[in-house]
């Protein structure tokens, strides 16, 4: 078992008389005086959150990139088959079951009011999906539980508001947030089957963002390469 004793010698007389300890300390601070600033001047420079960032939630709509078992889930829960642009949510409440604070979700499905001969007779539709984000811990368990990859985290982090009422997002707002996020960064995060892409990077590799991030990394931001021996090199870098 490796044990390492720590300890230093006490100061010598020369060190004491010539204030060598202070000199050494000052040399460090003077060295730093000539270094570039590392502060990112928010809000003039805005660092884009990383792709895995767990920000405000969104509810994805049907856009042709659903997983293969999407239709079987629809059938299983007797939901009206959604058309393009309608929500993917099937009101299965898995997100609520996985949530550490279940009461933040209010999810209700209701039966469609159509005549008996209509093909959608007896099927349900998502009526209410409210999330009270003031109770949310942003742990990401709901997104991992979702069988249809409907609920996702976006990269929005500024959610302050004057009243607690504004922290409750309904399904229209959540859909809008997701649509907006998917249009901006969907390709970066998800693959064609709505799963997380394998080649997600540790931080965004856009020119502009790298320039700001380089500041934070003392001017020399590391070049990113593959983690594992059989991972392919990303050409965009």
């Amino acid at each position: 078992m490796g044990i390492k004793k720590v300890g230093t010698k006490s100061q010598t007389i020369i060190e004491k008389i010539f204030f060598l300890d202070f000199m050494k300390g000052l040399s460090t601070t003077i060295k730093h005086l000539f270094k570039r600033t590392i502060t990112v001047t928010f809000p003039y420079e805005i660092l884009e959150p990383t792709i895995r960032f767990r920000g405000v939630h969104g509810l994805r709509n049907v856009d042709g990139t659903e997983a293969d078992d999407f239709m079987s889930w629809i059938k299983k829960l007797k939901i009206k088959p959604p058309e393009k642009g309608e929500t993917r949510c099937i009101a299965c409440k898995f997100c609520q079951a996985a949530c550490p604070v279940p009461e933040l979700f209010t999810i209700k499905a209701e039966k469609l009011n159509v005549p008996e001969d209509h093909p959608h007779h007896g099927l349900k539709i998502l009526a209410v999906f409210d999330m009270d984000l003031s109770k949310c811990m942003f742990c990401g368990l709901c997104t991992q539980a979702c069988p249809t990859d409907c609920i996702i985290h976006t990269d929005i982090y500024d959610l302050s508001s004057y009243t607690r009422r504004n922290w409750v997002l309904n399904k229209e707002m959540l859909s809008q947030i997701a649509d907006d996020f998917i249009a901006r960064r969907g390709k970066e995060k998800f693959d064609e089957k709505s799963k997380w892409r394998e080649d997600q990077t540790v931080w965004p590799l856009h020119e502009e963002d790298l320039k700001i991030r380089a500041k934070l990394w003392d001017g020399n931001i590391p070049q990113l390469g593959p983690n594992y021996y059989d991972q392919s090199d990303k050409t965009t870098n």
Partner: protein, 578 residues
């Protein structure tokens, strides 16, 4: 395995009657009648064959209102000589137990906590007052018949309601009723109860909201001139009942709550809990290697992160402002890497029972490598500023010495124990994940003063970066397709999922602990029967026990040393209060 063997425990039966010894996959519990308890513990402590000198933890299990006797005391001890642990159990008949403070002074706070949370009386305890709640609080919150929501009995309208009257609907129709809150009179009574006999005219209050206390701790100093004669600490302002929450929630669902205990090193908190649950399920050895390496890597990065924050604020408290700016620069890089890998900077929730929730993103290892290459140079910079600086030395050397005896007596762990010359490091004693495979040294001080605690932590940063280097090297050899999460061979028997739905843990009990930056963080999980929720979760917080020595080490020191001592003990209030 660091538990006492059955044969050795069986020998105890020769001396004591009515002992029940139970083995639960490696964890040995000895049950004794209440009358024999003190004698048994004394033998265990002093007999050269056992030498369980170190007090680890004490807690209570509530076996529901129907059971008689209802409460069971659980003692966990450690023997530094033989490097093994033991669990002693005894029933608290008539809700009373003999006090342990005659054997270990460190049991004082643990017993006060048991009184506060369960209402157990301790015969012979010198000042049995509440630990977290205020003095007039009428309930015992961790009892099974106390509802999770508490008793709502105080009317407390929110600001919105004041403004808008009854216009609040739906989710905003909060109940105006609130659980009990302390009034000013209650606080005054609490303060007096904590320090019943004061010798001087003035009791100095420090906190609860003072920047030097690193959170909400309330110190009481009984002063003679500038020198502290007596000291007590009122904690609990951040008490959220994490243990109660754990009993009412699924296993994976509890991980985000552990994030919020020690928020400075949330990864290490996740780690301890995850390992305890895995050991209860008996799958810890079957976790994929890649996941284990990732966890080791992240835990060490988190330790560096935590120590950097400690160094910055410690130096800041002692007047060296520059240090704070330098360490936060390095810390920002770690946070940036964490954000990229896990999606959060602070409350991370990356580990899962069974592995981690996602593989490392592209370029993560390069980012970590470039950071860790730079780090030793930066640590040298810090040391050049502080270590030999005469002001720094005179404010730290020989200040608030903690002896080896104190370490065993108070159950001190982590850097505080190591600085006093006790090489107590769970990464070596009871290795978990991949700590068996990595090579590192335990830094040990010899005097136990504040300066030693500083040097030990500085060395720990270096050792951690050494471990991270080795982890990166190992991880590079893996394939991208290697699993990062445990796959059950028979999902019907043993279901384990990333989101935690439908997960069941078997019946049994386990105590598992990891080496947190703040000391030993242990989770004692007790399951009466297999289920989706644990029956009782006890969190053995290193910071809680380390903070207890403050009341002793400060005696006879000037008030200015309080800052030094508190900073070198490095408690985080989220963890002490839970």
């Amino acid at each position: 395995m660091s538990w006492i063997s059955v044969e050795k425990a069986e020998k105890l039966k020769q001396k004591f009657e009515n002992l029940t010894i139970e083995e639960n996959n490696g964890y040995l519990t000895v049950e004794t009648p209440k009358e024999n308890l003190i004698n048994l513990l004394k033998t265990l402590k002093e007999d050269p064959e056992y030498q369980f000198k170190m007090f680890i933890d004490f807690t209570i299990i509530d076996h529901d209102t129907k059971s008689n006797p209802r409460f069971q005391g659980v003692y966990i001890l450690y023997s530094p000589q033989y490097k093994e642990r033991i669990i002693i159990k005894t029933w608290a008949i008539n809700e009373e137990l003999p006090t342990l403070t005659t054997l270990w002074t460190g049991a004082k706070w643990a017993e006060r906590e048991a009184y506060d949370m369960f209402g157990i009386k301790f015969e012979g305890h010198e000042n049995l007052v509440r630990m977290f709640m205020w003095e007039n609080y009428p309930y015992y919150p961790l009892r099974k018949d106390f509802p999770l929501k508490g008793y709502e009995e105080v009317e407390l309208p929110s600001l919105n309601e004041e403004e808008r009257g009854d216009q609040l609907e739906g989710l905003f129709n909060y109940s105006r009723m609130h659980t009990a809150i302390p009034t000013l009179q209650d606080l005054e009574i609490t303060q007096k109860a904590r320090m019943p006999k004061k010798s001087s005219q003035i009791v100095l209050n420090w906190g609860p909201l003072h920047p030097g206390t690193h959170g909400t701790i309330w110190f009481l100093f009984d002063l003679d001139g500038e020198y502290v004669q007596k000291c007590d600490i009122i904690i609990g302002q951040l008490h959220r009942g994490v243990e109660k929450i754990a009993e009412n929630i699924g296993y994976q669902q509890f991980i985000p709550y552990t994030d919020r205990m020690d928020y400075i090193a949330s990864i290490n908190e996740n780690h301890a809990y995850v390992i305890a649950a895995e050991k209860l399920m008996d799958i810890h050895d079957k976790i994929p290697e890649k996941a284990k390496w990732i966890r080791t890597l992240m835990a060490e990065l988190s330790r560096i992160n935590s120590h950097l924050l400690w160094l910055g604020t410690y130096a800041l408290d002692l007047g060296a402002l520059t240090m704070f700016l330098y360490t936060f620069r390095e810390r920002e890089k770690i946070m940036d890497i964490f954000e990229g890998i896990t999606g959060a900077r602070f409350t991370i929730n990356y580990f899962r029972i069974g592995g981690v929730f996602a593989d490392l993103p592209y370029g993560a290892l390069d980012a970590i490598e470039s950071f860790i290459k730079e780090l030793p140079k930066r640590v040298d910079d810090y040391e050049r500023l502080l270590t030999r600086n005469r002001i720094w030395v005179s404010r730290n050397k020989d200040i608030c010495v903690i002896t080896e005896e104190d370490v065993y007596d108070y159950g001190l762990t982590g850097a505080v124990a190591r600085a006093s010359g006790v090489p107590y490091d769970l990464r070596k004693i009871d290795p978990y994940d991949m700590y068996t495979e990595v090579d590192f040294d335990i830094p040990v001080g010899d005097k136990g003063d504040s300066y030693d605690r500083y040097l030990v932590r500085m060395e720990e940063i270096r050792q951690s970066s050494k471990i991270v280097h080795q982890c990166i090297e190992k991880l590079r050899k893996f394939s991208k397709n290697d699993p990062y999460f445990f796959q059950s061979e028979d999902p019907k028997k043993l279901k384990i999922s990333i989101d935690g739905r439908g997960m069941k843990l078997p019946q049994g009990e386990v105590y598992a602990s990891t080496d947190n930056p703040r000391g030993e963080l242990g989770f004692y999980i007790f399951n009466k029967k297999a289920g989706i929720k644990p029956y009782r979760v006890r969190i053995r917080s290193g910071a809680f026990y380390n903070l207890q020595i403050f009341t002793k080490a400060i005696i006879g020191r000037p008030i200015a040393d309080a800052i030094t001592l508190l900073s070198t003990l490095d408690p985080v209030v989220g963890e002490t209060d839970r």
